[in-house]
Symmetry: C2
């Protein structure tokens, strides 16, 4: 299907789609709230193009004359917004094609979102679109708005005023647009393009992301995601964005749905779905946020400021309390608040009352603000002037733009404020580091502030909490982009129907061939062969049942450990041997640490690597680090560093420091093995034993769809 | 000092203080920004009392005639707001007393906050206040505002409009008041009393909390705390609040300051200061929040709604995206979103379009809102009408009050909205469960909504993120209040100067006497005595150096474990014995789990109990649970349940489930022991061994100020 629709979503087509200069509203009547909203949206954006209502019965709508059908248009419009009911959509699209119209938004619902017949109806819609050469946004879609060009075929209320700006918005829930735009309005966050994605029959989220990466008006891309469709293409789109230096910020919902990973492999059962999403979005340089407010505030920071070079911030406030709160939240966000240089300190102190102290974080005290002055600049502004040039500082958090809601009646006061703001605009523009203005709490920017700040290109972030989170997000994104690591491919997973485990011997052969270091092991089919093997390998040994289809060996009594004598080996053989009498004999290992490493198939994303410390860390604390494949050794080392139990690997509590390079090499070899297996469901080494520089897989599990003929073969 | 000032801060005095009907502004001139702000504050609140400027040189200020000094007043005012500079304050207070004035706010800084001479100056101020019988708020203080009575001697800008309401605010940073009031304004959160605490020379935070607990206009108390002074009295005030059913919500800053607990005892070093604050605030039923927005939103929820009976919420929205976000955040906040009953479902479905589904969380879809109707109620309102009576539901989150910023020009539409809001007010008032209105994002309540909602006593919480946090906070507070447990006493700590460890034998005697179960041990002073003891106790044994002043025995090579033979015991004796030849011989324990339990003296709060699992849990994961004393056994069981490693205690990974009652009894016995020791710094059992129902202290450490003569004595 995607191949068929591809010619409909080229860069050129989407460029035209999202900047329609003439729009037909098919089915618009004066009583349609949707149509009214589109008319109002276009009024609000100052749409200069034509808006033609199309209705078979009414002769006018919204004061405009109608035509009965699209075929009756004098010339084709750029876009048809189809408000007609579901059953009438096909006819309207035929009319559109006949009229030479190549772009349509379809509002009607009753398609794939209702399942069954709806899904078939949507397939027919796509076939029709391909046949007619019409690019479709929707169905079940509220349209888009382009704040820069004013093209706004958008069927929801837009809260005024709408600012044009650097933030592109792609929403899986169109009905959320009003809420999103309302917060953007409140904080004067300018929008480039907002799209309601609907059912993504032809234009998909990935298409719009790719479009926004190329769109010069867009500096940052915000996504509200209910799911991640087309993961492979999504990963490529994210790479394009990252390479273009355009951050993607995403609010991905669904975390509260219980993880549904199958439980056959251990790594599968500990990796909840949302943790996988989280890990993969990080790999894709996508900033994941927890609220709409954080989404937009992070976008505002990224869209309106140059990128900070580091995490050392100057904090400039007129309240000791605000300093304290910022210091706490800055610590949470991984920011540093270093001392000013002596030069900066002197420059700042010159403008402070004697009892205030010129340190970072800076409280110039309310005293300074309460006293009348002729200098338009406050002590805070003088501090800003000095701090931006401080070599210890990478960014300034500036809580100094509070101003009255409306222009003061006192002309002198208004003049001071206005001179101050134009100074601020100039100083921010010439500052070598980003100056991030923020309010103390998340409140709407007042009309006076909006009027003064917009010309200065200053955006005020909404409150300490959101501003510090946004800055933390920005710095994490910069670190993420700077890391040189393999980009995930997200080949997809699919359904599991008949997973079956290989024999351990076959699993060992696979892993060994890929370069995973293995504990020595011999297959024995009689008690005496087991004893002989034990002597060759060195007592004490472990015995394990070995045969295909056996996953949880110890739960079935299929493992005997620490067998120190011939008699113990013989007795254990009787307990653990499988139907065909096969057991695997291995020496015991003591000391060191046990890890686990495994690749399991995520139904959406495909192979996902989990690495963790064994024992309580994975079973009690669920302490694992996840990545989509491929990974390289430095990336595996980063995974190990993310574990809560990481200090154990570096020798906490007197343990021998683990050779992390050797561990990483073994894990990468495991992922190589995973890549060679067809119909892989899971591959797992648990435990992966490490003792200093010695690393060995003590056990191995491979699960494939339908088991493996290979496996039986390799047994021989 | 506190005893001397107590008569100045009685309930009666504070009641009068915070409702001054006549106010003198001492030092007010037209150029004083502070004085102007007070005049404006009183205008804004509609203060009906008198405001008299007092100035030695100017004959008028702010259009009012001045008097030269307070002595020149015709009759005493209720309150003098002293704007005079620091050096003039004493004189002004003498004047005030001479004029019969009994209440004063002191603005000047340069007192305790600057240390040294400032601290002495403040002591003199307090002596003077006591001598003159004047109740002082400040110095270094911006005053207060009482929104109900209009009394507003408050020297900062109040952003209009100011709503009177249920939220009391006590701020350690007065300069933060504008930010706090700005957020309150934005969300129409009504204030009862706001106080800037300044240096708390006479009136303290605890006094104001006690006042607000008694204040009928206040339903919830918000604190911005830079520290917790008077911990013992704070604990009592919090108990009063809890018993009165008045929640305290606190933003306590300082988390980013590194914990400074001394490292001599293990529990001290793992219990960072902020973690102690966190634990103690929870014990005091104080809701701790992370931002000013969360502070006020939580207060709004508590101040404007009846308390929910449980955590089962109905979620009513017009957007699938909002449903998804609420579901995720609700899960984070510990809320449940149960199914509606069949009856509710039927009632809701009757008002939905056929493609919408009447489930919880409910999305009535934008369709419903886009269509004109004659019924003022939307599908969301009908859903509300049904959901409030659903027996599965304890509270309703209602995202249905979005309305235009100003009254629509279309009278019919305005009429619909207004009838809808008055219906809503009636339905909310008669609802058996709280109906919590929220917006989708944190934006200011518009003027039209403010005008319509205030008469209906409906407060709209600012956005999904804050609303769900606030509801989670509320439910945790209700659970906390419902728990029957000992109230912490917070007796205070003080400085450590000469901490010294007791000998282990003395520590064992102390613990044993208090009922802590101990591993058997014998003191031996020769190798042969050690061997003999080992045989009596049963090999293998452990040998430990035993003498006063020895804290970290194993770090000094003072411990030998697992000695299985006489020779091993003899050799170990030579290695570990101390100067006087004393060693302690104990049997080894295997299996089971190791915990640690200890009481250390927090410099602010006094004895704090830490309980954790031993080994990696405490050393790598810092996994401890903390409480101020006293605790009882159910509380210790709750502490154990809070540990990340708690599953291990209940038998995870095949471990034997621990007898938690026996563990709790041993820990409570440890706290009893702590209570008997004078000048205690720390007492610790590490490990506390538990194996099924067997619990034994395997090691014991007691540290007191200056060591203990007792300890030496008990050695015999």
């Amino acid at each position: 299907m995607r191949t068929a629709t591809r010619p409909l979503v080229t860069a050129d087509r989407l460029g035209r789609f999202f900047d329609a200069g003439s729009i037909a509203l098919v089915g618009a009547s004066d009583t349609s709230g949707w149509a009214r909203n589109i008319v109002l949206s276009c009024q609000l954006t100052g749409f200069a193009g034509t808006l033609v209502p199309v209705h078979p019965k009414h002769s006018s709508a919204f004061g405009r004359p109608t035509v009965p059908t699209l075929r009756d248009l004098a010339e084709p419009v750029d876009l048809a917004f189809v408000l007609a009911p579901t059953h009438a959509v096909e006819g309207v699209l035929e009319d559109a094609a006949a009229a030479g119209i190549r772009h349509a938004v379809v509002l009607a619902s009753g398609y794939r979102e209702v399942g069954g017949d709806g899904a078939r109806l949507q397939d027919r819609l796509v076939e029709q679109a391909v046949r007619l050469g019409i690019t479709v946004l929707g169905p079940n879609c509220l349209g888009y708005l382009n704040a820069h060009t004013g093209s706004a075929p958008f069927a929801l209320t837009i809260p005024p005023p709408l600012a044009a700006g650097p933030v592109g918005l792609v929403l899986h829930s169109g009905a959320l647009a009003t809420a999103v735009l309302d917060f953007a309005r409140a904080h004067a966050i300018g929008v480039s393009l907002l799209t309601s994605m609907g059912n993504e029959s032809v234009i998909t989220t990935v298409d719009v992301v790719n479009h926004l990466v190329e769109d010069a008006a867009t500096k940052v891309i915000c996504l509200f995601l209910e799911g991640i469709g087309q993961p492979e293409e999504f990963a490529l789109a994210a790479r394009n964005a990252s390479r273009a230096g355009k951050p993607i910020v995403a609010l991905k919902v669904g975390a509260s749905l219980a993880g549904q990973a199958a439980a056959l492999a251990h790594t599968g059962s500990v990796a909840g779905d949302d943790a996988v999403v989280d890990a993969i979005l990080r790999q894709l340089d996508v900033i994941r946020v927890g609220s709409l407010e954080e989404l937009l505030t992070t976008a505002a920071l990224l869209g309106y400021h140059p990128h900070p070079k580091g995490r050392r911030v100057a904090v400039l406030t007129a309240s000791g309390g605000a300093c304290d709160i910022i210091a706490d939240r800055a610590a949470d966000a991984g920011l540093e608040i270093p001392d000013f240089t002596a030069e900066t300190t002197t420059a700042i102190a010159a403008h402070l009352p004697p009892f205030a102290s010129a340190r970072n974080p800076l409280d110039v005290t309310g005293y300074v603000l309460a006293h009348q002055r002729s200098d338009p600049l406050t002590a805070l502004d003088h501090a800003l002037d000095a701090a931006v040039d401080d070599p210890n500082i990478d960014a300034v958090l500036y809580a100094g733009v509070a101003m009255p809601a409306v222009r003061p009646a006192d002309e002198r006061l208004a003049g001071l404020i206005e001179r101050r703001m134009s100074w601020l605009g100039r100083r921010v523009a010439t500052s070598p580091v980003p100056v991030i203005a923020l309010s103390s709490t998340c409140v709407d920017l007042g009309p006076y502030a909006r009027e003064l700040l917009a010309p200065q290109r200053i955006n005020v972030l909404g409150g300490i909490d959101l501003a510090t989170r946004a800055l933390g997000n920005t710095l994490r994104w910069l670190d993420s982009c700077a890391a040189d690591r393999p980009w995930p491919t997200l080949t997809g997973g699919g359904q599991r129907t008949h997973p079956a485990a290989w024999s351990e011997l076959a699993a060992r052969q696979l892993l060994g061939a890929a370069g995973v270091p293995l504990i020595p092991a011999e297959l024995a089919r009689t008690p005496e062969a087991a004893v002989a093997a034990a002597h060759r390998l060195g007592l004490p040994v472990a015995l394990k049942v070995c045969g295909p289809g056996i996953a949880h060996k110890s739960d079935r009594g299929g493992v005997a450990l620490d067998l120190g004598t011939d008699q113990a080996v013989r007795q254990a053989y009787k307990r653990v041997a499988g139907e065909d009498g096969s057991v695997l004999v291995s020496p015991m290992r003591t000391g060191g640490l046990e890890l686990l490493a495994g690749v399991s198939l995520d139904p959406t994303f495909g192979p996902v690597l989990a690495v963790g410390l064994g024992g309580i860390f994975v079973e009690v604390l669920r302490d694992t680090s996840l990545r989509a494949l491929p990974v390289d050794e430095p990336e595996v080392r980063r995974m190990l560093g993310e574990l809560r139990g990481a200090p154990l690997l570096s020798g906490a509590r007197g343990s021998q420091p683990a050779d992390l390079d050797a561990v990483a090499a073994a894990v990468v070899a495991l992922t190589r093995a995973a890549a060679t297996v067809e119909k892989l469901q899971a591959i797992e080494v648990n435990p992966l034993w490490v003792c200093g520089s010695r690393v060995e897989a003590l056990d191995a599990l491979v699960v494939t769809e339908g088991g493996s003929a290979d496996a039986a073969h390799r047994e021989r």
